[in-house]
């Protein structure tokens, strides 16, 4: 078997697996949005502060899925493993 084709195929599988990191941040953002909705329901006058706190929290939760995206992109576009063959 051609080693380069094997590495490229495995990299594509790896990229697909790396994008699964979106699972965790999706859950986290969903929980954050749900809690924010609860908080607004309980205290509608604090809506602005709750919104901005929720957005910052959601952005921080998103960081790990963005890392997954970057790993997937490195595997697909600038694969460092192909040069080893």
């Amino acid at each position: 078997m051609d080693p380069k084709a094997f590495i490229l195929g495995c990299s594509a599988i790896g990229a697909g697996l790396a994008s699964l990191s979106g699972l965790g941040s999706g859950l986290g953002q969903g929980i954050a949005a749900g809690k924010a909705a609860e908080a607004v329901g309980r205290q509608p006058e604090a809506r602005g502060a709750i919104m901005s706190t929720m957005l910052i929290g959601a952005a921080v939760a998103e960081t790990c899925s963005v890392y997954g995206l970057i790993i997937a992109m490195i595997l697909l576009m600038a694969n460092p493993l192909v040069a080893l063959v």
């Binding site: 901005s52 957005l55 952005a59 998103e62 960081t63 963005v66 890392y67 995206l69 992109m73 576009m77």
Partner: protein
């Protein structure tokens, strides 16, 4: 398909290295030109401003007021000078993200742009800390335990990295998805169908990420310059 940053034309050669005008550079120039024109127009109109605002003056005063109130509510007293700087950063990132709407490659989908912005924030965080706390700045690395010094240093170094990758990853992700959709559709359908995606990936995510970059930088500066 290639989503990389393409060279457009040769600028000059230096020591055998060719420096090209890239898509990022061109889009950055366009964004800068738009911002400069807006700034110059407002500056020229400034002399005709009256006590009772009307039209354009109304909007500008509202913007400046929002900016000042927002800086005060995020960073507290004593940081009023940072409002203008971060408003500039916010405007640049926002227009950069929106430049995808007119067919340019967004400058923020290049790691170099976001890294430059993140390094600026990084320098600002630590210079403000040094200026406000003097010796207490170095002591803050030993809290709560001197044993945690390496962890504290790691935490500080990871801040600019996460700032720059968050913006870069979000904008590039949207750009790639939109390019794939454009490539997939036949020519006649390219004018209507991707609009919904533009609405989400450019307008919503672009504004959100610009907002988050500035708010996180502001919060980091405030955290690092307060004695705990």
């Amino acid at each position: 398909m290639d989503f990389g940053n393409k060279n457009l034309w040769l600028l000059f050669e230096w020591n055998g290295t060719s420096i090209y005008v890239t898509q990022t550079l061109l889009a950055t120039w366009v964004v800068m030109a738009v911002l400069l024109v807006i700034a110059v127009v407002i500056r020229l109109r400034l002399s005709s401003f009256k006590d009772v605002p009307k039209g354009l003056q109304n909007g500008i005063e509202a913007l400046v007021e929002i900016m000042e109130n927002f800086t005060k509510s995020t960073m507290g007293e004593g940081y009023e000078g940072y409002g203008g700087f971060f408003f500039g950063i916010f405007a640049f990132i926002l227009l950069s993200n929106y430049s995808g709407l007119v067919g340019l490659r967004p400058p923020t989908s290049d790691l170099a742009t976001t890294a430059a912005l993140a390094i600026t924030s990084f320098l600002l965080i630590h210079l403000t800390g040094l200026r406000k706390l003097k010796g207490g700045y170095f002591k803050s690395y030993l809290s709560p335990l001197p044993l945690l010094l390496p962890l504290n240093i790691m935490g500080e170094l990871s801040k600019p990295i996460s700032l720059c990758f968050r913006l870069f990853g979000n904008v590039l992700g949207g750009f790639i998805i939109l390019s794939l959709v454009y490539e997939m559709l036949p020519f006649a359908l390219r004018f209507v169908l991707p609009d919904v995606l533009h609405l989400f990936f450019d307008i919503l995510v672009g504004a959100l990420q610009a907002f988050i970059f500035t708010v996180l930088s502001m919060t980091f500066i405030q955290q690092k310059s307060v004695r705990n």
